[in-house]
């Protein structure tokens, strides 16, 4: 398990794909992130990230239905793979470990310091 490398943006995208569960296609992901995190996401950045993670094997995609508003173009839905799940789990675990390792006094000291 040496490296499940995930960038910050990549992690957000992965999590959002998880949230949307089966309805995760690019525009929906973009909207979800924008709504929850109050940050704009460019189509270019999103697609690049999705492609990259698909290449790494964290995500897999399948072609979905096409609608009229998309001028007949199909949607491409994303799903987290088993490897992907391990990767975000790993990310979370490492965070938690780090969180846990912070002495409690830090928080107080910080508060006191204000």
């Amino acid at each position: 398990m040496k490296d499940y490398q995930l960038g910050e943006f990549e992690e957000i995208v992965m999590l959002t794909v998880g949230i949307l569960n089966n309805k995760a296609y690019s525009v929906a992901i973009k909207d979800e992130i924008e709504a929850r995190l109050k940050r704009t996401v460019s189509m270019g950045a999103l697609h690049t990230a999705l492609n990259r993670m698909e290449d790494k094997g964290y995500l897999k995609s399948f072609s979905g239905e096409s609608t009229e508003e998309r001028a007949g173009r199909p949607r491409r839905y994303f799903e987290i793979t088993a490897l992907g799940k391990k990767a975000i789990q790993h990310a979370k675990d490492t965070r938690d470990e780090l969180w846990a390792a912070i002495p409690k006094t830090i928080w107080q000291a910080n508060l006191g310091g204000i």
Partner: protein, 873 residues
């Protein structure tokens, strides 16, 4: 309002172009979905902007299409196949290939040679600094008519330098051509004649022009009188390996020069021809009048003046500033000088001022090159379309298998390119081999290693592309236009193949071109024959002109008497020059009791009393001159009387003539019939013959026909006995007269050569076409013979077509040829008239040439046994 607005088209297209095809559909769908939504919430303008932003942000690695597996960058395999197919086609049709390559190679050879020649000529004197500010001063002489000379009065350069500030440098130069130079080598005296002579040159000359010294110092080299600079080539020729500096060369045994510098050899592309430059200050010993500051009275040929103008000075200003000097120094003269500034780049091209090559000649050469190239391309087009039928099945199959028209088009272009490149390779070898002959013919010095020349390489590549497109486009267009169904069913007929008429008109064009050339050749040849054989009004056969060796009239006369004692010599006359010569001394005379000089020049023929009998001039009235050493009496020609407006010979006899400013005076004692004193280009000018012992430069010796060679040797012996340290020179009068027409001879040879090539290329095309026609019509001929058609009938079947084409071509060629040759003849005062025979000969010869070309094939097919041609199906 559009109910369904679309995102900006350009950016959508841009996106489609760069996006990875695998993702194109999805992302485009996303884009459109977002756009649609934005349209509803934000409006069109903002939606458009967002769209554009999105597209631009998508333009990033990972989304841009990769180059590799989706695009084949080297269609090399296809080219290889084209090449293979093309090569096989060429090998299968050896005859056509040969005809095409021969024709193209021939015309390309000419094109390359013409290019080299034109390039050589247009690069003359382009290696000087500030070449755009260098001018030569020339003179327009306005008399009754205007004449042009490249020389000026000698003081002009001095006043331009000293009285005006237009120039940075002014250099005067006087070139004495045909000089005899003597020098000592290994203690022995050597005599050598330099046709380009030597030049009295002011040192500024070398500041204006870029001729570097290899030895010596330019600052001091020509400062002193009697110093000289010679080129390395001459130094080697004169002194071998010895150091030339400090050696002495002597002009005509009286004017010595010490060599103070050695010039690097002059480049080939300069019009400065002399290789000996001597200090201008020595000129006072050579010609005191010319060297003085007062020599405004006349112009001596060879007196040049070059000027380097200051930046920003226009030549017109200088011309205006020079005009007052004519009034100041030549107030009386009827010969009004207009001094003009001639740009350095024009010197080579202005024939009026002795330029070596007229711009129009360059134009003619280029036109010929284009002509020949077109003819060869026309041939190619002709043969290729004729052959198209053979390739139609191939085209059909290729189209059925999914070939695009553009692909097929390029395939055929590729085949043409193979032929063109092969021809160019052959042409290069040929041109390389021919360059020495071209140099000889045009008296140029084009270096033989011209293949290293960058512009030439570019030219050749350009030529290759041009020929390929020119010759290849039309056939390729025709070939690729077939409908596969008709092509495969074999239902294409010749008529459908881009027109028999196209091919006919091409043939007509070729014939027209060659007939114009034939007409040209015939007319020029006739005119030359006329000019060389016409009655000149004097005897030019077996008269040899021998230069005088000594200045003393006494020794001249004694040598003349010795000559007369030789058995092979009939007559001898001491004279200035023969009746007809390229250069002559033209003088304004005063007649009878008139107070003013006449306004026409009179050709001064100074000679002793034997001149008229030696040259067999015909006396119309009066008598010959009485022998004398000074001017006593005059004999004039009819043209002089005509110019004076005198109709009766008796009125003229006894009238006084004052020539050369009044110091040559005498009464008219005789009148001779007009003789041609210049080439047939010029009118017969007024002339007078008088005795003037100090102006004789030649012995005119009439030799009786039998033993010319031994007589010449005897003459030389006597001459050298009298003048041991001089160079014996002689020339025959008829040779000199033939020299008048050197330019025309060159033109004639050139046009003969090119018409030969044009006709040859035309014949190649004709031959190709007839063989094709015959292969198409073999069965028809067989059937006709079975039905009772005779040989003559069959021959006529093919022949009538060509006769008709030649006649049409003649109708085009005759007026064009007539017009051109009429223009050309305008140059001659004495000329032939264009008669019907010229044109009859032109059409006759082209019919014969055509008949010879197609004859063999036609006769062969006419005699073939119908069984043979009909047996196989």
């Amino acid at each position: 309002m559009n109910s369904n607005p679309t995102p900006p088209k350009f950016f959508l297209r841009f996106f489609r172009w760069f996006c990875h095809p695998r993702m194109l559909d999805y992302i485009e769908g996303d884009l459109l979905e977002v756009y649609e939504r934005n349209l509803k919430t934000l409006g069109k303008r903002k939606a458009d902007w967002r769209f554009i932003k999105d597209v631009l942000l998508l333009f990033r690695p990972g989304i841009i299409r990769p180059r590799k597996p989706y695009q084949n960058l080297t269609p090399y395999g296809m080219y290889k196949s084209y090449f293979k197919i093309g090569w096989r086609t060429l090998l299968r049709n050896k005859e056509y290939t040969l005809i095409n390559i021969a024709g193209l190679a021939l015309s390309i050879t000419c094109c390359i040679l013409i290019f080299v020649l034109v390039k050589h000529h247009s690069g003359f004197d382009d290696f000087h600094q500030n070449e755009d500010r260098i001018y030569r001063i020339v003179t327009e002489q306005h008399r009754e008519s205007v004449s042009f000379t490249n020389s000026v009065p000698s003081p002009l350069g001095m006043v331009l330098r000293e009285n005006h500030s237009y120039t940075e440098k002014v250099a005067r130069m006087f070139q004495e051509a045909d000089a005899v130079i003597s020098f000592e080598r290994n203690g022995e005296k050597q005599l050598i004649k330099e046709p380009q002579g030597f030049a009295f040159t002011e040192p500024e000359f070398f500041d204006i022009f870029n001729f570097p010294l290899s030895q010596g110092n330019m600052k001091t080299a020509l400062a002193e009188p009697n110093t000289a600079i010679i080129t390395e080539r001459l130094a080697k020729k004169y002194f071998g390996e010895q150091n030339p500096i400090g050696q002495v060369i002597t002009y005509d045994n009286f004017l010595p020069f010490t060599i103070t510098g050695v010039l690097e050899d002059l480049p080939e592309n300069t019009d400065i021809t002399t290789e000996i430059f001597v200090s201008y200050s020595s000129m006072k010993d050579f010609n005191p009048w010319l060297a003085s500051d007062e020599a405004w009275g006349g112009i001596t040929g060879g007196m040049y003046c070059y000027a380097l103008l200051r930046p920003g000075v226009s030549p017109v200003e200088v011309e205006e500033a020079l005009a007052p000097y004519v009034k100041l120094h030549r107030p009386e003269s009827k010969n009004v000088h207009h001094y003009k500034l001639q740009a350095l780049s024009d010197i080579h091209f202005d024939g009026r001022y002795g330029g070596a090559m007229e711009k129009s000649d360059i134009g003619i050469l280029i036109a010929i090159g284009i002509f020949l190239l077109l003819t060869a391309c026309v041939n190619f087009v002709n043969l290729a379309t004729a052959q198209a039928l053979k390739r139609s099945k191939e085209v059909g199959v290729r189209k059925v298998l999914g070939s695009f028209r553009t692909q097929l088009f390029w395939q055929f272009i590729f085949e043409t390119a193979i032929i063109a490149t092969l021809s160019i390779l052959i042409a290069l070898v040929a041109a390389f081999a021919l360059v020495p002959y071209v140099n000889d013919f045009f008296s140029t010095q084009i270096p033989v290693n011209f293949l290293t020349d960058g512009t030439l390489v570019l030219f050749i590549i350009g030529l290759d592309v041009l020929i390929t497109l020119l010759a290849g486009c039309y056939p390729a267009f025709i070939l690729t236009g077939f409908k596969p169904v008709t092509a495969l069913k074999g239902k294409l007929s010749m008529q459908q193949l881009g027109g028999f008429n196209t091919r006919r008109s091409l043939i007509v064009m070729q014939f027209a071109i060659s007939q114009v050339l034939i007409i040209g050749v015939i007319v020029i040849m006739n005119q030359m024959r006329y000019a060389k054989q016409a009655e000149l009004g004097f005897d030019k056969e077996s008269i040899v002109m021998v230069g005088i060796g000594s200045d003393s009239l006494y020794s001249m006369k004694s040598l003349k008497n010795e000559f007369l004692r030789l058995p092979g010599i009939e007559k001898v006359s001491l004279c200035y020059q023969p009746p007809a010569s390229e250069n002559s001394w033209n003088n304004s005379i005063r007649f009878g009791s008139d107070t003013e000089e006449v306004n026409f020049p009179t050709n001064m023929k100074l000679a002793d009393a034997d001149y008229i009998s030696t040259f067999d001039l015909e006396l119309l009235a009066g008598r010959n001159l009485t022998p004398s050493d000074t001017v006593r009496e005059m004999v004039v020609n009819e043209a002089l009387l005509q110019s004076l407006g005198i109709t009766s010979y008796e009125d003229a006899l006894g009238e006084m003539i004052y020539a050369n400013g009044g110091n040559m005076v005498g009464p008219i004692v005789g009148i001779v019939r007009n003789f041609h004193d210049r080439s047939m280009h010029a009118e017969i000018s007024p002339a007078l013959i008088t005795t003037a012992g100090n102006m004789y430069f030649n012995y005119a010796i009439k030799i009786n026909g039998q033993s010319v060679k031994t007589t010449l040797e005897e003459i030389e012996e006597l001459w050298e006995a009298q003048n041991p340290d001089k160079l014996f020179e002689y020339s025959f009068v008829d040779d000199e007269i033939a020299q008048f027409y050197t330019a025309e001879d060159t033109l004639l040879k050139g046009i003969q050569f090119f018409s030969f090539i044009a006709i040859f290329i035309g014949c190649l095309g004709l031959y190709g076409l007839i063989s094709f026609m015959i292969s198409q019509k073999t069965k028809e001929v067989g059937i006709r013979k079975v039905m009772g058609g005779g040989v003559a009938h069959i021959i006529w079947l093919f022949g009538q077509e060509f006769v008709r084409l030649i006649l049409i071509a003649f109708l085009i060629a005759a007026p064009i040829g007539w017009w051109f040759m009429n223009q050309w003849l305008q140059d001659f005062e004495f000329k032939i008239t264009l008669d019907v025979w010229t044109f009859a000969l032109a059409i006759g010869s082209s019919i014969i040439i055509a008949a010879l070309t197609v004859g063999y094939q036609v006769i062969r097919v006419a005699y073939i046994n119908p069984v043979l041609s009909l047996k196989t199906e």
